[in-house]
Subunit: 343 residues, 2 copies
């Protein structure tokens, strides 16, 4: 374990010159820079981040709070964030926040507050004003993904509009008896994504002058969740919808599996549309509105690094809305007249 003083000695310069040479700040002649770099390489020198950040106050480390790791959307976002941070020479410290309030408090009060991280990315977590304020008071930039937090820059798709488009697609195919299978709207964690999508769904129906009662069923955001909901919703031919807008692709796929098992033909007897662009959507021929979570992660890092480099309180607290694109596959089709349903 060599230290800067060793490098300086070997290179025949002072500590301060060695520091300047290696960090690239301040004046150093090309000649001495080479000497210092060579000495450093020779000794296998690496800076002590602890010492450096003690004096500079910056850690080159970003904290990420995220509710799930093992769900497609979140995994993708995380991968995108990680790749971008490494690229920029930053470390990523991961905090998974479950619904455990005590854990959450600890993460904020203990982990994030210590001068461990320069900034925080919050993925699909509805931060409380108190939490936001705390981080801002510490001067730590904050970027949100997957929903908007008042006062901080964030980026996400437009959940209302995306849901509306998905539903509209079904309506344009002639469907009237449409159901939405999505997440529990009262779940706090997930940034109100669920309720936003429900609102978009309702809006599309309203615009088309369609009234349905019993138009919603909640499901866990997974294939299993979709499967269970599908079995429940599709079981009775008399009440069965002709089309389902699923809250995400995983739910949609679960519904397709359930339909297949119940002998319901897709898209002849049932159309299904999702949101995400999950890799399985292609395998299952699922029509979906595609988003790119990995890119969202990368963009969030960009925004964040911009804020870190900005000489404090400069840049706009913007909210970036990302586009989604409709990819039509074989899970949606024009409604056949009176498939089975007849009350």
């Amino acid at each position: 374990m060599s230290i800067l003083a060793d490098v300086a000695r070997i290179a025949g310069v002072s500590k301060s010159t060695a520091s300047r040479a290696l960090s690239g700040r301040g004046y150093v002649s090309e000649d001495t820079r080479r000497k210092v770099e060579q000495a450093a390489a020779e000794l296998g020198y690496v800076v002590s981040t602890a010492a450096a950040s003690l004096v500079t106050g910056r850690t080159r480390n970003v904290g990420v709070v995220i509710p799930y790791i093992n769900r497609w959307y979140f995994g993708e976002v995380l991968e995108g964030i990680e790749a971008s941070l490494i690229q920029a020479g930053y470390d990523l410290t991961l905090y998974r926040l479950s619904s455990d309030a005590e854990l959450r408090r600890r993460v904020f009060d203990y982990f994030l507050v210590r001068k461990r991280v320069d900034a925080v990315i919050s993925v699909a977590i509805a931060l409380s004003p108190h939490e936001v304020h705390m981080l801002q008071a510490l001067g730590k930039p904050l970027v949100g993904i997957g929903g908007l937090i008042p006062g901080i820059p964030s980026l996400s798709i437009d959940d209302v509009e995306t849901a509306r488009l998905a539903t509209e697609h079904l309506i344009s195919l002639g469907h009237r008896r449409i159901m939405h299978v999505g997440g529990d709207q009262h779940e706090q964690m997930d940034f109100r994504v669920h309720s936003q999508r429900y609102i978009g769904f309702e809006r599309a129906l309203r615009e088309a002058g369609i009234t349905v009662d019993d138009d919603f069923r909640d499901a866990e955001f997974s294939i299993q969740g979709g499967y269970a909901a599908g079995l429940a919703v599709l079981g009775d031919p008399r009440t069965r919808p002709t089309a389902i807008f699923a809250g995400c692709d995983e739910i949609a796929i679960g519904i397709m599996v359930a339909a297949r098992q119940l002998g319901i033909s897709i898209p002849n007897e049932l159309s299904v549309i999702g949101i995400d662009g999950h890799p399985l959507a292609e395998t299952f021929g699922l029509t979906t509105l595609v988003q790119h979570p990995g890119d969202q992660g990368a963009r969030a890092v960009e925004l964040l690094l911009g804020q870190i480099d900005a000489t404090a309180d400069g840049p706009p607290k913007e909210h970036l809305v990302l586009p989604t694109t409709l990819t039509v596959r074989s899970s949606t089709a024009v409604r056949r007249e009176a498939p089975v349903a007849q009350a």
Copy 2:
């Protein structure tokens, strides 16, 4: 931002006493401890980890290197590690290693070497002797999950034996024309898991005196991968196996989806078995050998913390073998005589 000196002043003691009171090391009377703690609470004081680790040399931070985030097994392991580390007051710094050799070099030479982490957990990554040596030279404990690295403690299931058991299950049901759909055995990343499972598969066949040619097909470790391989393998009735041992549950499920699409009935015409205990296995009625990746992550942390606390080079460099249990569902059944196959 209050510092220790402020706390000491408010409490009316010296810096050293304040430090002892807060860290719990050394003699401090109960009375002064209370005073210091109260002062700290009042000021909202939190230690600067940078300053602390500069002098102690410990960061309370563990690095995790992992090849994937968005695959079930890896996500589960990561969740297990994260939960245990937080519990123990440690941070988790995440490094995703893709097949990019340059990235890998950077992570090891630059990120892990800086005194950022106290220890490293390597998930399913076959570390080179050089990499192991480097970390050990730095005195950083190292634990492996999902395969064994010579000289360092690690834990994993017995891939050979698990694969043998899975195959044996198929054989015991009367199957003879058995195929293994698994990962590419030459892939470096994945810790030779693939080749180990193939070896177990072959061993079971050999023990039963079965010879099959064309008994292997490689697939990506995902539902899509299994689906693609399934279509290819099951297309021709003349060469179709009566049972498939899949390298993991996701592949198995992909095969089941493909079979259903091809009109092949499971388990009447085809038995499928996997490895993992993926939550979807239950949904799909998949027979599988269950492992618990989350627990593996937790155990790895235990091992690691044990090593950190040990007064250097103490504990055994053990390799922990974890059990897997066979869960029989409806995807495997006794072989029906001459289903379709007849060359």
